[in-house]
Symmetry: C2
Subunit: 339 residues, 2 copies
C-alpha cells in the first residue's frame, strides 16, 4: 500500500521538475531523478516525450568513457544471477554499473527480465549500482528507443558499465546488438534441447559465449561445452571487430571465473579501441538508429492511415493466395496512400 | 558488330509484342519470349515496368509444383561448376532447370555471377535449361524484385527447378533466403581464411552445407570438413522447417556425390511438404515481400523528397558527432518531410 502511494507521489511530482532540474540531477548522479527521467522516456504520453527528448539532448555530450554490454540467453540459463554476480564484482572494483532490460515481447510482468528485483537482493544494495526493471510492454521500436536513450542518461549520470539484459528468443537481440559494444551469450552445458530456444543467427552475433552454472558435478559438462563451442566458433566467419569470439564457463553461484568474463570484455575493449572499431561501431550504430527510426516513423504513418486499412487486408489476402504479386500489391497500396 | 545490331533489333521489336503474346509465349515455354519478358522486368523504364507487371500478374496462377534453390558461397568456391554439374544432372533426369543470379553489389561485369556463360559450356547446350546472366547493377530492392518476378515467369514457362546463385558476401543472401525454398551454402575444405569472406549469419540460414572440390588429394580434407561442420551445426538452433541442416561433400569436376546433394534437397521437400512448412513458408515469403516492398517504396519516396535532402546531411553529421540523438534527428526529418 505504501508503495502504491509512493508511486503516485512520484507521478504527481514529475511535472514540477523543470528540464534543467532533470539534467542537473542526472549529471550529479541523483538516482531518483535518473529514474524519473527514464520513466518519462518510457511514457506513452506525448508531453512526457517532449520533456524526455529535451533531457536526452542535453545529456548527450556528457558521456564519460563507458562500455555497453548486451547479455542474452534463454530463460533458465541464469541471466539474473549472472548479472548479480558480475554487477557485484564490478561494483567492488569501483565501477558504477547500470542494469537495463529490454523485453518487448513480454505481455504481462514476464518475470525473467528483472521483473523480480528480489532475485538480485545483494545487487540492489550496492550503492554504485542502478537497476531498472523492464519497461512496460510495447512495440520493439518504442522499447528500443527508450532503452537506447536510457543508456545516454545512465552514462551522463556517471555509470561507466551498462548491462542490457534480453531474452534470446526474439527480435530484441538484433536491437540490443545494435546498441551495445559487446554482446554476451549465456549458454547451458549439455547442448541440445536447451538451445532450441535460442533464435538462429544469435550465436553468430556473440563476442563471447559463457557457459553458466559451471559448479560441482556440472563443471565437467561445462568444460566439454566450452571445447565444443570453441570448435564451432572457429568455423564461423570473422567479425568486423577482428576480435575472435571467446568461450568460457563461470559459476554465478560460487562467483568463480566471473573475473575471467570481465577480462574477455576488457581485452575486447582494448583490441577494438586500438583498431578503431570501438568508436567506428558506435558511429555506425547511431547512423543505424537514425535510419531505422525514420523507417519506423514512415511505416507508422502509413499504418495509421485510415484510407488504406481495408484495402490492405484485401490485398494481403490476394497476395497470400498467390493471385496477386507482392510487388503489385505494394504498388496499389502506395498509390492509395499517396492519393 | 553483328551482336550489337541484334540487340538493337530485339530492343526495337519489344514494344510490338502485346501482353497477351508475351503471356502466351511464356506459357508455351518459348525461351526467347521468356528472356525478353525478364529484360522488361529488369528495365529501368517506367513503360517497361507497366508491361512487365501485367505479364507477371497473368503468369502468377500458372505455376506448376517447383522447387526454388538458393546457392551461395564465396568467389572461388566453385559455384558455376557446381551449378553446371547439378544442372546437367537434373536435366538428364527430365527436369526443366532455370538458373538465375542475383548480385546487386556487382559494379561492372563482376564475373563470378554467370557473367561468363562460357563457363557453363555444357549446360547452355541442354535444351531443358534456361540460364539468365546477372541483371545489370542496381539497388538490392530493385534487383530482388526483378529476380523474384523472374522466378514466377520461369515457373509459368514450365521450369520446375529454379536455381538462384548469389555471392556469400553481402545483403543479397537475406534477399535470396526470402525467395527460395532451400538454401545451399558451398564451402571449401580447410576452414579458416577462406571463410572470412562469408558474412556472419549466413551459415545459420543454410539448409545444407556442401564442401566443394572433394576430389583427388582434397577428398580427405573435405571429409574432415564435413565432420567438423556436422558437429558445429549440431550446436545450432533448429530451423522453423524442423529440417536438420545436412552436410556433405561433392566434386563438380568428377560429378561425384551430386546425386547426394539432390537427395538432400528432395528429402527436404518431402519433409516440409508433410509438415506443411513448404507451403506456409512460401506464404510467409509473399507476405514478407509485400511488407518489404511497401517499406522500400516509402523510403524511396522519402529519399527522393527534395525538401529534406540538405537537412538530412546536416542531421546525419550531428548524429555521427554525438551531439544529436538519432531519434530526435529522425523526428526533425519526418516533420520536414510531412510539412
Amino acid at each position: 500500500m505504501a508503495k502504491s502511494i509512493n508511486t503516485k507521489f512520484v507521478r504527481k511530482l514529475r511535472p514540477t521538475f523543470s528540464i534543467a532540474t532533470y539534467v542537473e540531477g542526472i549529471k550529479s548522479g541523483k538516482v531518483n531523478v535518473l529514474s524519473q527521467a527514464i520513466t518519462l522516456l518510457e511514457s506513452s504520453k506525448f508531453e512526457d516525450h517532449q520533456i524526455a527528448d529535451a533531457i536526452v539532448e542535453q545529456c548527450l555530450s556528457n558521456s564519460l568513457p563507458s562500455i555497453r554490454i548486451g547479455i542474452t540467453g534463454v530463460p533458465g540459463v541464469g541471466k539474473s544471477t549472472f548479472i548479480e554476480s558480475i554487477g557485484n564484482f564490478l561494483s567492488n572494483q569501483g565501477h558504477k554499473v547500470a542494469v537495463l532490460a529490454i523485453d518487448p515481447s513480454s505481455q504481462n510482468s514476464g518475470g525473467s527480465i528483472l521483473g523480480d528485483k528480489t532475485r538480485m537482493e545483494s545487487l540492489v544494495q550496492q550503492e554504485n549500482v542502478f537497476i531498472r526493471p523492464s519497461p512496460s510492454k510495447g512495440a520493439l521500436g518504442g522499447v528500443a528507443k527508450a532503452t537506447r536513450e536510457s543508456i545516454v542518461l545512465c552514462e551522463a549520470a556517471g555509470y561507466d558499465v551498462v548491462l542490457i539484459e534480453t531474452v534470446g528468443v526474439g527480435q530484441s537481440e538484433i536491437a540490443v546488438r545494435s546498441m551495445v559494444d559487446f554482446f554476451l551469450l549465456l549458454m547451458l552445458a549439455g547442448a541440445g534441447d536447451e538451445l532450441q530456444g535460442i533464435k538462429r543467427g544469435i550465436m553468430e552475433m556473440a563476442d563471447a559465449v559463457v557457459i553458466t552454472k559451471a559448479e560441482d558435478e556440472n563443471l565437467k559438462f561445462a568444460k566439454n561445452a566450452v571445447r565444443e563451442y570453441k570448435n564451432a566458433l572457429n568455423l564461423f566467419p570473422a567479425s568486423k571487430s577482428e576480435f575472435k569470439p571467446q568461450v568460457t564457463h563461470c559459476s554465478a553461484l560460487t562467483n568463480s571465473n566471473i573475473d575471467k568474463v570481465w577480462d574477455i570484455i576488457e581485452s575486447y575493449k582494448n583490441h577494438t579501441t586500438i583498431n578503431g572499431f570501438f568508436e567506428e561501431n558506435r558511429k555506425q550504430q547511431a547512423k543505424f538508429w537514425l535510419k531505422e527510426r525514420i523507417r519506423e516513423l514512415l511505416i507508422e504513418d502509413f499504418e495509421n492511415n485510415n484510407k488504406i486499412k481495408v484495402e490492405e487486408q484485401i490485398i494481403e489476402k490476394q497476395v497470400l493466395k498467390g493471385v496477386l504479386s507482392p510487388f503489385k500489391g505494394a504498388d496499389l497500396l502506395m498509390k492509395k496512400y499517396k492519393s
